[in-house]
Amino acid sequence: MGMLDNKVAIVTGGANGLGKAYCLRMAQEGANVVVADIADKEAQAVVSEIKAAGGTALAIKADVTSEEATKNMAEEAVKAFGRIDVLVNNAGFYHGMSRKPFDEISLAEWDKMMDVSAKGTWLCCRAVFPQMKKQNKGKIINVSSEACFAATKGLIHYTAAKAAVIGITRVLAGELGQYNICVNVVAPGVIDTPGTRSYINMDKMDASSVPMKRFGRPEDIVGAVVFLASDDSDFISGQTLLIDGARRVN
């Protein structure tokens, strides 16, 4: 018996890194998983992995910055599985982003960041909202970052977008509570994924300031996502949960 038996969960950016970890674990917990990503080949590979393990999944090509694409994603999910219980807004512009001072980041990269991480989150919520409203239940899990919880250097666009996600979460918690839709955020610390390795050398990172003396692994984050997707969190909404070995506190 899984924690998410018969639930339908959409994970954006589900083809790689953390998103892939969410998909695999939610499938293990019994969910029918929609792997939504612009990288449709890799999304298909995640679906194959889930199916090989006896789970149920579907890949949908989705550009979260396009309203039409997000609507189509929700429609396809409902067509395939009949409902949408969970949306994990994991898609973000992360792999290959510039870690430059604020006055050196290009306007184009700023816009791309805000489009994918902030606007994309908003659009995906809009897309699943009618179905969740109809069900009078839903769970939206947004992904922020510990980067917004301390003075940092570089990545102003990423950090601003991830702080925006907290704002989106709070407003949606307020607006959607009446439909029994819970909206929460997880904020991972530095996690060892290919995306993280695209802009820093993980092997040279100093974990001495992390109370738990290490950086995170994708497996460290999945438990919180499953919890916030499950019925165990039905009275929790609007909250931000940091997952970073206590490096920052909230």
């Binding site: 009446q178 109370p211 009275f235 609007g238 949960l241």
Partner: protein, 250 residues
Amino acid sequence: MGRLDGKVAIVTGGAKGLGKAFCFGLAKEGAKVVMAAHRLDTDEAKQAAKDIEAKGGMTVEVDVTNEESTKLMAEKAVKKFGRIDSLVNNAAFYYGAGRKAFHEISSEDWDKALDVGAKGAWLCARAVFPYMKEQNKGKIINLSSDTAFAPTKGMINYITSKAAVVGITRVLAGELGKYNICVNAVAPGYTDTPASWTIGNVAKFDTSTTPLGRVGKPEDMVGAVVFFASDESDFISGQTLIIDGGRRVH
């Protein structure tokens, strides 16, 4: 298969209200529960004791404001079950605390709230620490309150103790991370328990500003405590999770 199979969990203030709900919620997931309470001689406590023993648990009488008593509590738990995996610092001065203005609260009631709520949490953490350190793993879950996260009226003693719990949580997360001990806080909103009825009329509580539109039930709090006690949250420490239907955000 439970999520806490083979784990040993101590819950202070465990014989009534939220504490009792935590005891049975943890037991349901397979934990051996130590129901620790100041008074085990009431009819309700006697029944709760019988029920938790039937589920393989035990009871311990404890005064959390007394160092010797908390040490004895930890010793008895280890003598019976061999280890301590989780401590839920739930004991508080809440039942009958009243809702007086700050200048009307007696010095004795201030001391009592801080002694039980703050010092008690500290002493219980000290008592279980040697065992958790030896195990190189442990989970401490402290009970704060959503009242510490917004302007409120009355109960300055209680609310101060609940804010102190957040401070205790953060320092312990910093100090105990190297022993792989995670320390987190849950902060319930107004919850329908007998104790809450001594503070006000729960049925008449204004939920118009609560997005999920209702007062909490003890069951609403259990999932988060199980999550923080389980291996699913092994990289989460120092955090505070509000559970109040979105009324306050953090």
